[in-house]
């Protein structure tokens, strides 16, 4: 990049909004997935939509690829910089612009931290439902890019359920508004496609969120089972009984040990632990909780505790939310995997994971969002032992292949990013991927916005954007366009 471009960018964001020194750039060389690292040419810190537009226009004119970044907590390398590209960090755009309780809408900038939305509306007893484990540091902009989930999306849905409108800077610097404060805006649901597009369709600069009234009560049941099979059967029976809990989480013995070592959540030492949270009106929750309790006992739970107070609930959740980081207590290194299976495949997939784990000679701890079949196997290894990292990576991809074979997905909430793009062609056929890339070409024909992510083989967008293709009859002079 030439110095005149740096000068122009500095003119847009000011001296303190442009990072070019090597030392500082290292902060941005990776996201939460640290085994991919690329040093960007520059990092820009805009503090307004106008600045984002100006930066992107320069990038478009000079054909410089750009990667938007929120808090950098992503686990799939989605915010990994691209060679010779710039990173546009949205952390300065962190204003909550509007809170409208009558309509349960909140308008935020992309750098706003997930938990701060709930913080802002909590006094009126509302909350922002998507709750990824990183919610105290991850940004709403990043959540939009990844369509983040969390433990409570079983009942409340994902980020896409709670985003009603977006202001987006497209890859040519133009501004569009998708969706809005009212529902069902006429036209294609481009907002629905944008959420979860991992930064490949543009940069969201303003986000209209829906917030939800807090239920009258929430109760969390903790049940200890001999193994994941019995715990899985209890999950199936709960769903079959017609209940939709707010969350159903499962941890296997290794995950329990790690959580205990890290945060002393006082979990029973058992083969599998189930957390079931029910929320809603007191009488409803009481009736259903008795039913869940009975289902757990019937399936062999030997200890059941029900957290009544918020403090007790917080303790129960503490271990679960700390589970990933807790792996550091029992293993020098670990890979966090994110696969999805139809819930009924759980016993088969668990047995296969066990077999692969023994064959590879590596331990695998399992943490699941069991209600929706989202598995987070944690492959434990020691990088200092030659070859073990490669074995761990192989094992980790084998587990994903199991998920695909079971009719599931390679990612439930962490995204494809850089990490899983090779797996995409195992899950989707070539025409499927080609069709998705038609959307990409409509939004960003030059492929400047977070290029080389998601798709295993980027497709050239062919004809110039907006080029009109004459209809065969029209070309023959038979019909006219109305």
């Amino acid at each position: 990049m030439e110095s005149r471009i740096f000068d122009e960018l500095r003119g847009i964001v000011g001296r303190r909004g442009l990072i070019t020194s090597r030392g500082e750039l290292h902060t941005y060389e990776c996201d939460g997935l640290t085994n991919f690292r690329v040093l960007p040419r520059a990092v820009l810190l805009p503090d307004s939509t106008e600045q984002v537009q100006k930066i992107v226009r320069v990038c478009h004119r000079e054909r410089i690829p750009f990667v938007a970044r929120g808090s950098g907590t992503g686990l799939s390398g989605g915010a990994l910089p691209v060679e010779n590209g710039v990173v546009i960090s949205l952390t300065r755009m962190k204003r909550i612009l509007e809170v409208d309780f009558a309509n349960a809408r909140v308008v935020v900038e992309p750098g706003v931290i997930n938990l701060d939305v709930t913080g802002r509306v909590a006094p009126q007893e509302y909350f922002y439902a998507p709750d990824p484990s990183s919610q105290s540091i991850c940004s709403i902009g990043g959540n939009v890019a990844e369509n983040s989930g969390g433990a409570h999306c079983l009942k409340y849905g994902f980020t896409t359920t709670h985003v009603l409108g977006l202001e987006v800077v497209l890859a040519d610097g133009s501004l569009v508004h998708l969706g809005g404060k009212t529902l069902d805006a006429p036209g294609y649901d481009l907002m629905g496609v944008f959420v979860g597009s991992e930064g490949t369709l543009g940069i969201a600069t303003k986000i209209i969120l829906r917030v939800v009234k807090r239920p009258e009560c929430a109760r969390t049941l903790l049940a200890a089972f001999p193994s994941t099979n019995e715990a899985g059967a209890a999950v199936s029976d709960t769903i079959a009984a017609g209940m939709l809990p707010a969350a159903i989480e499962m941890m296997d013995n290794l995950a329990i040990q790690a959580a205990e070592a890290a945060v002393h959540a006082n979990y029973p030492n058992c083969g599998a632990l189930l957390l079931v949270e029910l929320d809603g009106p007191v009488a409803e929750v009481a009736a259903l909780m008795a039913h869940v309790d009975e289902i757990c006992r019937k399936n062999g739970a030997w200890e059941i505790r029900i957290a009544q107070s918020d403090a007790e609930r917080a303790l129960v959740w503490k271990g679960r939310k700390a589970a990933f980081a807790a792996m550091g207590r029992i293993s020098p290194n670990y890979i966090v995997q994110d696969g999805v299976i139809p819930r009924t495949e759980l016993p088969n997939v668990m047995r296969e994971i066990g077999r692969l784990s023994r064959e590879a000679g590596l331990r695998v701890a399992n943490v699941f969002h069991a209600g929706d079949g989202n598995l987070h196997p944690l492959v434990l290894f020691d990088r200092r032992i030659p070859g073990q990292e490669e074995t761990a990576e192989l094992l980790s991809s084998r587990i994903l292949e199991l998920c695909i074979a079971a009719g599931g997905s390679i990612t439930g909430e962490h995204g494809v990013g850089e990490d899983k793009k090779k797996m995409m062609s195992k899950m989707y056929s070539e025409p499927d991927l080609e069709t998705m890339q038609r959307v990409r070409c409509a939004f960003d024909p030059l492929q400047l916005s977070n290029p080389s992510k998601i798709f295993p083989t980027p497709r050239l967008c062919g004809e110039k954007p907006g080029e009109y293709v004459a209809h065969p009859l029209e070309a023959a002079g038979i019909a006219e366009r109305f």
Binding site: L183, G187, L190, P281, E284, L473
Partner: protein, 429 residues
């Protein structure tokens, strides 16, 4: 060769080739029953598989023939009049429930299956697609998705965008593409099910879909309250929304001849419902609870149906406003309709509502224009679903905002020849 001869040759060739794909008995000349918003198509083709459907679509696309996808045909008049209509591509023979994975709370179903048949299959295992669509006995999965139809249950369960987890689409060039899948939670690749939902078949023909399901409720209760006026109804709606009640549906009804009513639906256990009914009664300080019954939830379908009161000319439109502006919208409708039109409205607490206007086409048109202008001023919208014969052309969709160019770009990538439903969607896409 002059143009009409050439067009005729094209049509004849298409007919022959289509017969070769689906066999002769499933290609027929279109009749007057097949008219689409006043435009007479040439053929009706009924493929027997999604592969056949894709081949026929590709054939029509190559021949430059415009294709109108059709399911049950219940909402065929939604949208603008087609610029061209040559071939009706019917999903009537794609009517199977492919797999109800009840233990996983998911189902895969072909696009031509009616909502009624689907719900019946799901009910065998105590489950449902949590959607109260219009005319479920005839409306199909593909049609309901393409028109993004939703009813009162949306408040609790979301709309189709929240329920559909996978689709297979046949594109104009014959590509069959799937995205999403059979699991509820999935962020691999772009969310094309959402793109296809509400696209009115202009990007591709939906051939099958996966949905997430919900259990059928153990018990249900409806409370219906007569209110003094719309403002009082609005206050109750917002109070319920701001309460800790776990209601499944909440709507306001009003009309030229009826006072405003607020209906609340509860679903759950016996114990839970009894407690919630008591809480709700404490919130209602107007007239006592007026009636119970499920019939109030068919108000939307009554508003949309032609045989409502044996009425003559009428228009139906869907509006979207902010939840706190529902009463204002109803008052606007009452003011605009005044003495000249009969009107009725049902509005859900989500801010989505349906209005029916009966009377002279010209008056209906001017009321719809003014209502649209007022709604759009507050960020809302008005979409016309049915228009009386005497009404002048009025765009079905209204203002689309600054994303129209982007929407057109998406259309060009999916259907560059404008084969699918040309002219029917926003901006005459």
């Amino acid at each position: 060769m002059d143009a009409s001869v050439s067009a005729k040759t094209t049509a004849n060739t298409f007919e022959t080739d289509a017969r070769a794909i689906v066999t002769a008995q499933y290609v027929r000349t279109a009749g007057t029953n097949d008219v689409v918003a006043g435009v007479q198509p040439g053929f009706v083709v009924e493929p027997g598989s999604e592969q056949e459907l894709a081949k026929v679509l590709k054939l029509a696309n190559a021949a430059g023939l415009a294709v109108i996808p059709r399911g049950g045909g219940t909402k065929l008049e939604w949208g603008n009049r087609p610029a061209r209509a040559d071939v009706i591509l019917s999903t009537a023979r794609l009517h199977r429930v492919i797999e109800h994975a009840w233990a996983d709370l998911t189902v895969s179903v072909e696009a031509g299956c009616t909502i009624g048949k689907l719900q019946e299959a799901l009910a065998k295992h105590g489950q449902r697609l949590a959607l109260d669509a219009l005319w479920p006995e005839h409306a199909t999965v593909g049609g309901v998705l393409s028109t993004n139809d939703s009813g009162a249950l949306r408040l609790r369960f979301g709309s189709l965008r929240d329920l559909v987890i996978g689709v297979t689409l046949a594109l104009a060039d014959g590509t069959l593409a799937s995205s999403g899948g059979r699991v509820v939670k999935n962020v691999a690749g772009y969310d094309l099910p959402k793109l296809a939902t509400g696209a009115l078949g202009t990007l591709g023909v939906i051939t099958r879909a996966f949905f997430r399901l919900h259990p059928l409720p153990q018990e249900t209760r409806t409370i219906s309250c007569a209110m003094k006026d719309t403002q009082e109804a609005q206050r109750l709606v917002l109070a319920i929304q701001n309460s800790k009640l776990a209601h499944s549906a909440l709507q306001m009804r009003s009309g030229a001849e009826i006072r405003p009513r607020v209906d609340v639906l509860f679903e759950g256990t016996e114990a839970g419902l009894t407690a919630q009914m008591e809480q709700l009664k404490l919130m209602i300080n107007a007239e006592p609870v007026a009636g119970y019954g499920r019939r109030v939830w068919s108000a939307r379908q009554e508003i949309c149906s032609a045989d409502n009161n044996g009425a003559g000319e009428f228009a139906v439109a869907k509006f979207a406003t902010l939840p706190a502006l529902i009463a204002g919208t109803v008052d606007t409708i009452a003011r605009l309709a005044a003495a000249e039109l009969r009107w009725s409205v049902v509005a859900q607490a989500t801010g989505i509502g349906w209005v029916r206007l009966e009377g002279k086409g010209q008056v209906v048109e001017s009321v719809l224009r003014e209502l649209r202008a007022e709604l759009e001023r507050d960020g809302g919208s008005l979409v016309i679903a049915h228009r009386p014969a005497g009404m002048a052309e009025l765009d079905a969709w209204g203002n689309v905002g600054d994303a129209l160019a982007l929407m057109s770009a998406v259309k060009r990538r999916f259907d560059p020849g404008r084969t699918l439903n040309p002219g029917r969607f926003v901006g005459e896409i």
